[in-house]
Assembly symmetry: C2
Homo-oligomer: 266 residues x 2
């Protein structure tokens, strides 16, 4: 009770700049990962290529062995991909613990418009994980992870679609499981922060508008496919959209510390 | 006239999956980078660390030598950072051409809800660049790049804030210049795409709603700072917000291929 699990601080994940914005809290880091539609996954293609690669992927934290594990407990990161993609081939060929990768997620929650360019910033949430990626070979775990990832695109979508996947679909899909070694997050919220020298300079304060422009992701009205045969948009879709929009919008507001106006311009 | 510049296809940037979605066009790739509020930058911290690192950074494409260069012409990528951050120290210490890095940007434009989990997808735009990063040491180029990056947060903000930066501000800010070696982009648009076996299965089509949920980034009403002394929100801010909102929303719609309803739910 009351114990917060944190990732160990190692050289590779320790935040050195704006330390007060850093978090090593499993719950905070996993939440940022899970609420991101796209994760950026970095890996090294091999000795002949000097550049690390980055792949945008869909993924989600979860525990197959302890499905009831909370967001603030130790979890693996499951990434969805295509069977012959480069990262999958590298993970398949990797020896030992797996392919060393970095998973990153970032969200902008507001533009911080302060007196000087130097004090400009974003309200944001970002997280990274380091870990070893291996291919999920157990069929039950793979199916479980495919459901986990599909439902991260839209809550409860899996059981409302044509499942289970057939044999060809199962074999063309690969799930990477990342055993997390460390992680860290960084959260910036609040308003404008300027230096005394500028706040005391009336020529500047009379001229420069300061404040925050909230930013959030909006889901629009679902547009049915020409071949769609289901008359109304199902409730699980419309309620997901409504709740995401409310959640995103109110996070951007709460990050500033003041409520947003009820009627918002587009 | 009419010539489209493309990045060379090399092993490291060649798209193997969904080739028809791939682009090597400088204009398309640079536009995705420039319209992203956050770039994910990957680099290798050193031989003692097996994991590549990813840092969220603010950046922008531009050419100091040819400031009038178009978005579809050869450009460098300028990244903004703090003087003592790890990537800056590595770039400072790097020998030869600079620190090998990968820059990535991704945007989700819609959820593709099709009949089976396998055919689910996003409408999205993503781009990566590979290149060598070095620190900008020329003061004029650094100042120019700081203006470029600040104005990428909000158009025309630089000259409406307290500039130029003073000596301390100039020395605490570091600008990385990425000489681009190759790049690629991937764009998915359109609607649902299902296989014949599922489209012909009436049990499935009668039950599963298919279509697209458009997704875009919304900028809210600017919230003035308690210390702000400028009465009205300046026109360059409100018009930027309005034009971004219109651009983001209409891109999500045009990606599907049909106009969105005029009044949109939140």
């Amino acid at each position: 009770m009351g114990k917060t699990l944190v990732y160990p601080k190692r050289d590779s994940n320790t935040v050195n700049r704006y330390k007060h914005r850093a978090t090593y809290d499993l719950g905070a880091i996993h939440s940022i990962i899970n609420s991101s539609q796209v994760l950026h996954v970095s890996f090294n293609p091999g000795p002949s290529d000097p550049f690390p690669a980055i792949l945008p992927m869909i993924g989600q934290m979860g525990s197959f062995d302890y499905p009831s594990a909370g967001i603030d407990e130790p979890l693996e990161c499951y990434l969805h991909g295509y069977v012959s993609s480069r990262i999958m081939n590298l993970a398949r060929a990797s020896e030992g613990e797996g392919l060393p990768i970095c998973v990153a997620a970032s969200k902008v929650d507001g533009l911080i418009l302060s007196l000087t360019p130097n004090s400009h910033s974003y309200n944001y949430r970002s997280a990274i994980l380091h870990g070893y990626a291996t291919l999920v070979t157990d069929e039950a775990e793979k199916l479980w992870a495919m459901e986990l990832v599909t439902n991260s695109v839209l809550s409860d979508r899996w059981r409302h679609s044509r499942v289970p996947p057939d044999k060809a679909e199962m074999s063309s899909t690969v799930i990477l499981k990342v055993k997390v070694v460390d992680g860290s997050g960084k959260i910036r919220d609040g308003g404008v922060s300027d230096e005394k020298k500028d706040k005391d300079n009336q020529e500047v304060t009379d001229r420069v508008w300061t404040g925050v422009v909230p930013v959030w992701e909006t889901f629009g009205e679902p547009i049915p496919d020409p071949l769609n045969k289901v008359e109304a948009v199902p409730e699980y879709i419309s309620s997901y959209i409504a709740s995401q929009n409310e959640r995103n919008r109110s996070y951007a507001a709460s990050a500033i510390g003041i409520p947003l106006p009820k009627e918002e311009q587009h």
